[in-house]
Symmetry: C2
Subunit: 414 residues, 2 copies
């Protein structure tokens, strides 16, 4: 930032823990006020107070509602309505006039099933009018209006998506405030040597989120990438201005200084394999059946067995295994054998620098072998490599890979 240029507009998003009490709201308002004090135009997007969404969901469930049901959307949306107005009060009290703005009033248009809508359009005129009037808009996250004019929610973590959409609508950067100071190279509870990632590409952030890092909602990163919104993940638990955080930027904006951004994991995994079926591999029928049964398939391996028969394997979430097995065992074909394995975990190494680097896979195999850890399945994408290990080996594998890829030093990563 140069001293004489007006800094760009900024959207600050505060999650549930940052809105957990009047004291926490006051503290988050101070962070926002600190940004506004520099003269830049800001907007704020908030989640419901911590625990409120669960409380409201419990009430809805006790009366026959639940996630994925449209009336429940209306129940849940009340949480962000209240917290947005509370934040507006806190900002106004801090000397920065603010006004709560609802998804229905802008409006923010949402399509898709109840409880997991996607934002299709956002009207920015109301936000512009407030900004021009010197009033900070405080947008209720997680919600918008469906095509019939009813309230619709965006699913858990949807307030991140609202924040990015608001940032795109008013041409702002977007700071996501949470309870950690940015994105880390891995889970600090497993590896105390984990370090904060200073900059990461949208793609690598997407892979990290998809592979288990819970800091940012996946769709909000996709939206930020599509709309070229610069995201930062920061902590609302530090003093105003004190959080360095992690910047999520376009690929082109970061030099490829490091191969790997981070190591993420997903705990409860299972494996299903189908052997045989003659020349015609049973893969198509298997995956069609799994899709019909609403089982999300993650890693897929297909090969010929030594005996010449086809082998197809996939990994699924542990809770989905019974349904997956039911599908596999219903397959028809000569000499089909279905096997499964539970008690697995997935560890992923993510980074844009993985592109075309064969040594990344070599390092992975070497490290696991040195540690005496079994690799049950390996799959790669352009910027990640994932391995299924025994669940009991998870922590050891995370620590070993984190060290082997040189993540314990604090600096830029792509």
């Amino acid at each position: 930032m140069t001293s004489d240029a007006m800094p760009p507009r900024l959207v600050l998003k505060f999650g549930g823990t940052s809105m957990g009490s009047p004291e926490r709201i006051t503290r988050s308002a101070a962070i926002a006020a600190n940004e506004a004090a520099s003269g830049r135009q800001i907007a704020v997007v908030v989640s419901a107070m911590a625990g409120e969404t669960d409380r409201l969901l419990g009430l809805a469930e006790s009366l026959g509602g639940g996630l994925g049901e449209r009336e429940t959307d209306t129940v849940l949306a009340a949480g962000e309505q209240a917290s947005a107005a509370l934040m507006a009060l806190a900002l106004t009290r801090a000397g920065y006039p603010a006004q709560a703005v609802m998804g229905w009033s802008l409006p923010i248009h949402v399509e898709g099933p109840p409880g997991s809508g996607r934002i299709t359009a956002i009207a920015g005129e109301g936000l512009e009018a407030l900004l021009e009037a010197g009033v900070i808009p405080v947008v209720a996250g997680y919600q918008g209006l469906d095509a019939t004019g009813r309230l619709a929610t965006l699913g858990r973590g949807g307030t991140d998506l609202t924040a990015v959409a608001v940032a795109a609508a008013i041409g702002a950067q977007c700071d996501i405030y949470t309870d950690v100071d940015g994105v880390f190279t891995t889970d600090p509870r497993i590896e105390p040597e984990a370090t904060r990632v200073e900059r990461i590409s949208h793609d690598a952030m997407l892979e990290l989120a998809a592979q288990g890092a819970k800091v940012l909602q996946t769709r909000s990163v996709e939206y930020a990438k599509a709309k070229q919104v610069t995201l930062r993940v920061k902590s609302s638990f530090l003093d105003p201005g004190a959080s360095a955080g992690t910047e999520v930027v376009e690929d082109a904006a970061i030099a490829e200084r490091r191969v790997v951004s981070g190591v993420s994991y997903v705990r409860d995994q299972a494996r299903v394999s189908v052997h045989g079926g003659g020349d015609a591999a049973p893969a198509e029928a298997l995956f069609a059946g799994l899709a019909d049964a609403d089982v999300a398939v993650d890693m897929i391996v297909q090969a010929r067995s030594r005996a010449g028969g086809a082998v197809v394997e996939c990994s699924v979430a542990g809770r989905d295994l019974p349904r997956a097995l039911k599908v596999a065992e219903a397959l028809e074909g000569p000499e089909l054998v279905v096997r499964s394995q539970t008690g697995l975990a997935k560890v992923s190494v993510v980074g844009t620098g993985l592109r075309g680097r064969a040594d990344v896979a070599r390092t992975l195999y070497r490290v696991l072998a040195q540690q005496g850890l079994a690799a049950h399945m390996v799959a790669t994408s352009e910027i990640k490599i994932s391995v299924l290990v025994d669940r009991d080996d998870l922590e050891q594998a995370v620590r070993a890979l984190h060290g082997a890829y040189g993540l314990a030093a604090k600096q830029d990563r792509t």
Copy 2:
């Protein structure tokens, strides 16, 4: 109701205690379902769950908001948003498809200061569409949209007003469900002989409400009178269909069988009197000053004292006395003497049959004299007579007047 005519449309309003828990919501839904089962078209209007408005108000106050402040309206409106959707879930589960409808979505237009708006218009098209589709609209009470498109609330008890407005918009009767089985001739906690009033005129109900009976919000009765909506006050704590309740109807709809409808009271009253001022009574200056100081004046007595000077007296709420005295003591004029009395209570006898009946006042004075109770001030309107008594005499005065006007027998009262 005849057996072959379609019964008229019905709006059922459930207050906070009737929405106090999932169990209470389920029970209230059963009452509504019982009405819908007869084939009549119904709509439901709900308050926030008991305690929720106070909880939300407490949060707003802790951040600088409060009643009478526009952002706080948005905080509070979240309570009815959630409860409306919860009621819609309960009705749907009971086999009667229902949908929550917000004040902003109809919309219900509201004017006036934050926290005490009045409904200026209500668009019924959305309600008609749902009714025609066989879906029960469940309207969030207490709220609407102001001229700038922000949420605005109607003040405590405002859900009654929403219910009457919805009834007027769709040509329905309106049943107000609460925790008592109708309007009583006086407070049963003071007089166990108090009986339920079966029918009462809008005017008498208005006087009862204004004089301290808390069953119905005053403005909702005015609105019902203006729009010729038939109101009934019923209990949601009895089995579906079991509450007889009190019907509030037009004057013309009830024969004048009884003189008095009920005895109501207001506890904390005070009296201010100004003596002197020569020929020019200080009344105008006094009441102008009280209005400027936002002190509501209730009873007013003006007379000449024996010495020939003017005397003007008025009653105010006890909490307003310090402000009222400051106004009175600032008056200028020859030989002005200001006196005040606290520790008073107001008892009112209300009934359309009071019109032109001098014996009502005679009975009041006779009863108080027989009981040895001092009457500090008496004022009459067309259908009520009020008396200020010592607060310690309140219960005795209520019981004596209740008995003297023959209210302990259950029958129609006007």
